[in-house]
Subunit: 209 residues, 2 copies
């Protein structure tokens, strides 16, 4: 079993640019990556690959194998999957709320494919028992894409239901969830920059000045 | 064991007013309420109370006891809890993604208090084993409030981790989740009014004209 994390640091998380500078966003994704790698290791996955367009963008302290590939996310992951003959867990780098217990639960799935949906139709985690013939299709409504691809290949599907694992950090309101429900170094980083603002409706983040 | 659903129909869901008229929002909350009641019954809870400021706003087809109370949400729920000597499940009416299996899981909790957080710091479901002395504090960061109240009373807490149960339908992007992951009559209603629009980032709803 292996895990693979697609990772891009340069100008990452552009949809957070209203609340973080480019430098802050790049530091933030670095922290989130470290959280995800630590969670995987705690969950028992020690073979971890990071696919990134620029190998030098991954800090040396990240305990993982680095694969440099600057092609499109789908192309590089599909190339990766086609070369693998063991179960593969694809996990996004922006999931600091995932806990090791989720990882253990997911890789214990009997289903051919386990999918953790992201907010707004995304796919946060994909666990594929036989990756050779599976192909991914990220972007847009990738949750639906992956369900369809699995169904076309007559693979059994488990949709994994977790608020924490489904919360990818992509937009400012997601940082609220990190502050409220997180732990780890990405949360610490966010906590130094944002407070919580209560008002009518949902709690929002409020940048410290 | 009883369940209680706070419900307000009149001019409900004002944060959906950019995508639904007042009449549509009122019909929509009615459908969501019917979904929640059906889910509770399927989950084995047959004693269901609905607290509402206007009894005539609850359709006759809703199989539940109606309690008319036009005081503030916290006041009426705290009055309700103080009179109860059996475990109480407080569930919001805007949770059409909750499934009966969640209800079964939650009421099987051994903890004194089980909390399902809502998006942005809310509380979607509260299961309280001994309600006489528990007090609720909704609005704002109610998830934190309820954790604190339970801790002050030295009650054990279980935070229930479910994407479906944590997704309350309050803002337009929540309807995307209903379209993608829902079932039931509120989903059918939404599906007649909205399509899904893919683009950069998360899928959004796109109203039909």
């Amino acid at each position: 079993m292996r895990a693979v994390i697609p990772y891009k640091k340069e100008n990452a998380k552009s949809r957070l640019s209203t609340v973080m500078t480019k430098e802050q966003r790049e530091t933030f994704v670095e922290k989130m990556l470290l959280d995800v790698v630590a969670t995987l290791r705690k969950g028992g996955i020690l073979n971890i690959d990071i696919i990134t367009p620029k190998a030098c963008d991954v800090k040396k302290e990240v305990k993982a194998n680095i694969i440099e590939d600057d092609t499109d996310l789908n192309d590089c992951l599909n190339k990766y999957l086609s070369q693998k003959e063991e179960p593969i867990l694809i996990i996004m780098a922006d999931l600091p709320l995932v806990k090791f217990i989720h990882i253990k639960d997911i890789v214990a799935s009997k289903a051919d494919v386990t999918i953790v949906p992201g907010k707004g139709g995304g796919t946060n985690i994909l666990f594929i028992r036989k990756p050779e013939n599976f192909r991914v299709k990220y972007y847009g409504s990738s949750f639906e894409n992956h369900c369809m691809i699995a169904a076309q290949q007559k693979l059994s599907i488990r949709v994994y239901d977790s608020f924490l694992a489904s919360t990818d950090i992509d937009e400012p309101q997601d940082i609220t969830e990190l502050l409220l429900h997180g732990q780890g170094i990405a949360k610490d980083y966010a906590e130094k920059r944002f407070g919580k603002k209560e008002g009518k409706g949902r709690v929002k983040i409020s940048p410290f000045n």
